[in-house]
């Protein structure tokens, strides 16, 4: 083994070490959705709460409930997300439909039919009531579109300067009606990796909406409920042929696929040229020195499916309006385990790391 190889192996061992939070204080990086978030969640929360349902750290937990003595079971998906996006309103959406769609999508990623949502509001003193009405109206519209009901909630108000207008935490309950075995740990060599549409629009739209960069572009958020397009995919590839579903939110496609590669102990090999990105999103990323692979989507997901049925999966995605521009973007290989590689457009190969640091604006 060459010296360099030894170094690389040493790195891989370091990457698999028990995560430790080294910082004394929470920084924005801990909310990036990338490595620092993972570290914090694992070293603080998982460590304290450890139980078999939480442990996989999937988009949601799957609850298997017994119904009395009959031994009949109901399988539920249960997931929560807090939404702190700034600004509250942005092209293509607002914190309200984001809070509904985001949680609906996490349920969909568990293979569940989303049914019920709760909504906890933390409002900042001074928020215009009219803004809150708009947010509530767009939550209602998003809930109707996703066929879920908001059945319980809570409202708190904090002093001016203790929030940013409005934070919303939605929690979803969905019913898992199909016999799915979806898991980030289920990807196998030979599988195909698909994305349901062009990536990065949500994050780019929110960044521009903040106005900090003085950039104008016709980019609208991709926020949308994904349970419909997911249902089509699951119906087209029954019997465990869909291995993994992950919506590519904070941290983007790169981060989600790193999590899949690590959990499944496989390599994911992406084809740069195959990854759909809208030109305007590319433009914003070039201007700001960002990589679209790390920019959040709120209506796009990554699917790992049986490689033999990749085109059927693609057809199923494309049959739905929200999957019209779906693409096969890569494959799963046995090695190098726990890594994502990218064959670049220019013909090279490089590593795609999980998002590190870089506190981008709050995008969800």
């Amino acid at each position: 083994m060459s010296t360099e190889q030894q170094v690389l192996d040493r790195i891989e061992r370091a990457r698999r070490r028990r995560p430790v939070v080294r910082e004394e204080r929470i920084t924005l990086a801990h909310g990036s959705g990338g490595r620092a978030t993972q570290t914090l969640v694992q070293a603080v929360f998982l460590d304290a709460f450890r139980n078999p349902l939480l442990e996989p750290l999937e988009d949601g937990a799957t609850l298997r409930l017994g119904a009395g003595e009959e031994g009949v079971r109901v399988n539920l998906a249960f997931t929560t997300d807090s939404y702190v996006v700034s600004p509250l309103f942005f092209p293509g959406g607002d914190i309200g439909d984001l809070a509904v769609n985001g949680t609906v999508n996490d349920l969909a990623m568990c293979g569940a039919r989303p049914r019920y949502l709760s909504a906890g509001f933390i409002l900042e003193e001074g928020l215009p009531v009219e803004d809150l009405r708009r947010i509530a109206a767009s939550m209602a519209a998003a809930a109707a579109a996703a066929e879920v009901e908001i059945v319980t909630g809570d409202t708190k108000v904090v002093q001016r300067g203790r929030a940013d207008g409005c934070y919303i935490t939605t929690t979803g309950v969905g019913i898992i009606e199909r016999p799915v075995t979806l898991s980030s740990a289920a990807a196998r060599p030979g599988d195909a990796v698909l994305v349901s549409g062009p990536i990065g629009a949500h994050g780019a739209a929110v960044m521009l909406a903040r106005g900090d960069f003085d950039i104008e572009a016709a980019i609208v958020s991709d926020t949308a409920p994904l349970h419909g397009v997911v249902a089509g995919l699951l119906d087209a590839l029954p019997g465990g042929r869909v291995r993994t579903l992950r919506d590519a939110t904070r941290g983007g496609v790169a981060t989600v696929l790193n999590e899949v590669a690590a959990a499944s102990n496989v390599a994911v090999v992406l084809e740069e040229a195959a990854i759909p990105v809208r030109p305007e999103v590319t433009g914003v990323c070039e201007l700001l020195g960002l990589d679209p692979l790390y920019v959040a989507c709120e209506g796009r997901f990554v699917a790992v499916v049986d490689g033999d049925h990749a085109t059927r999966a693609l057809d199923a995605l494309r049959a739905h309006p929200l999957g019209e521009q779906a693409a096969i973007i890569g494959t799963v290989a046995p090695e190098p385990a726990a890594m994502v590689l990218l064959r670049t457009a220019v013909g090279g190969t490089r590593v795609v790391e999980i998002l590190v640091g870089d506190p981008l604006p709050r995008i969800c």
């Binding site: 960069f213 003085d214 950039i215 104008e216 572009a217 016709a218 980019i219 030109p279 305007e280 590319t282 433009g283 914003v284 070039e286 201007l287 020195g289």
Partner: protein, 90 residues
């Protein structure tokens, strides 16, 4: 840091004289063109944008020259191109 992005001048920007609107893949940003003082700038011209300033005007002729250099590679280039055209890599 030394990131420089080619953008197309699409016209003057509001406000200051030194500001112009630049477009990159349909994305527009105001940039300061003070560093190009004395150079003729017209909509349709391309400039290199660095930290909000146009640092340089891009020469189309020279841009073509780089690509033309490849033609000059001669035989190895032709061979390679043929080989590539023959194989079908997904």
């Amino acid at each position: 840091m030394c990131l420089g992005i080619p953008g197309e001048l699409v016209g003057p920007a509001g406000g200051h004289d030194d500001l112009a609107l630049v477009e990159v893949s349909g994305v527009r940003r105001r940039v300061n063109i003070g560093l190009l003082e004395g150079q003729e700038l017209n909509p349709g011209d391309w400039v290199l944008v660095h930290v909000g300033f146009a640092l340089s005007k891009i020469s189309e002729d020279e841009a073509q020259a780089v690509l033309a250099y490849l033609e000059g590679l001669g035989q190895p280039y032709e061979d390679e191109i043929d080989a590539l055209r023959a194989s079908d890599i997904t």
